[in-house]
Symmetry: C2
Subunit: 249 residues, 2 copies
């Protein structure tokens, strides 16, 4: 039986999603709990993709297999009791045995939060504390240039080896947080995002909003396919995996 899990995590105290020796990772913590609940028969988690250290998720998705049919609500409740407080399993549902949480992703949405007002110690792990003004209308114009199908090599982690750097961004937006006008929220909806891609786009857009680059530079950066042309990588704590889209789910 294959199950799909929807879960949130506060990435602050994790070395990212993916298992690594001697590091606290989201994958390992959840797999250990599932394995215990499965009578110590190992359970492997297959997520929609990784997230880096300090990056958060509102609704990450991962599938896993169990030999037996289980009551998903009970499993959810048991996990809630066993898991540390920085992971929250929202839902577990049975899915087709051919379903794959990574290969079947249609689109993903990431958001990035930045504080352009004064420093806020309560947000330091959840909102990038930029603490300087930005020109939001300049950023909006630059965001339009990122929408569509492009080769995003210039915005990907240096030396990242990929078969193709082409991705489609359906929607790239920025808005002011309704609850706090000092917080700007970027959102990116697209077919997929390579390593550091969102953070490199945000880092470059911050330079546009701060007057260090022009809106039209975005097009030149994309065309260069050269990571050195783009801006700094924005820090991880502002980044959230917001939603993963699948067909019929």
């Amino acid at each position: 039986m294959r199950y799909l899990m929807t879960f949130a995590y506060d990435g602050t105290n994790f070395s990212g999603y993916q298992k690594q020796p001697d590091k606290r990772t989201i994958q390992e913590v959840i797999e250990n709990c599932l394995t215990k609940l499965n009578g110590n028969i190992p359970v492997s988690l297959h997520a929609s993709g990784r997230t880096d250290a300090h990056v958060h998720a509102y609704a990450q998705k991962a599938h896993f297999d169990l030999e037996k049919d289980v009551d998903v609500n009970k499993l959810c409740a048991s996990l809630h009791q066993m898991l540390p407080k920085d992971i929250y399993v929202e839902k577990i549902e049975e899915v087709d045995s051919n379903f794959h949480a990574r290969f079947h992703v249609l689109a993903k949405e990431y958001i990035y939060k930045i504080n352009i007002g004064k420093y806020n110690p309560f947000e330091r792990e959840y909102v990038y504390q930029y603490n300087q003004k930005l020109d939001v209308s300049e950023i909006m114009s630059a965001l339009h240039n990122l929408e569509g199908t492009h080769n995003f090599k210039a915005f990907t982690k240096m030396d990242e080896e990929k078969e193709s750097y082409e991705r489609t961004i359906y929607k790239a937006e920025i808005k002011v947080d309704e609850a706090n006008s000092d917080i700007l929220i970027f959102s990116f909806l697209g077919t997929g995002f390579m390593r550091y891609m969102v953070r490199n786009m945000v880092g470059t857009l911050i330079e546009v909003g701060g007057g260090k680059r022009e809106v039209k530079d975005i097009v030149a950066i994309l065309e260069s396919e050269d990571r050195c042309q783009a801006g700094k990588t924005a820090p991880p704590e502002g980044l959230y995996l917001k939603k993963v889209y699948y067909e019929n789910l």
Copy 2:
């Protein structure tokens, strides 16, 4: 020269405000920075009052003395650079040499945040994750019984020795957070609050809102002057010192 500092802190990783051997405390961290900036001549911080471990402050106040006249904006900037990210000094101002941050307090406001919706891992250190419904109108009625001048011994830490347990609460309210309807915010404005007093009132009010106690029990609890009559102490992470009031400041 006497200076008054206004500062915020995230209490999560502190063993409370007050210095204690071998513990990370807000007082010690700030005093160490001030002492360094004062050419290693020790500086003592006198706060409006303590806060317990994991309790937060939006605007704690403390005074300290320096032999020389300093540029308060520069001092503020230097502190911002030296202090860890969970403390933020908002403002430093020169005050009269007779001013005392504790003795001259006119009133204080505390707020307490509680989540009555589903568990939220991002709020676990900032909002009490009660995660069950509460009857807000019952709590509102009970809050009225706490307003005024009363002997609050029943709501104070067991065995707390005080000359007087009489305090005045000017305003005791509850409202729904504007940004998130799952979050309720209690607020208490009063002449002063003894140890655990706000958390014991909130813990008792939660029992009223959960149907375990009646509104009128509040009066009986106050009259009993017996800590055992009140409810459980609500956890510290929902509590914030919001404002300290002084005359002419």
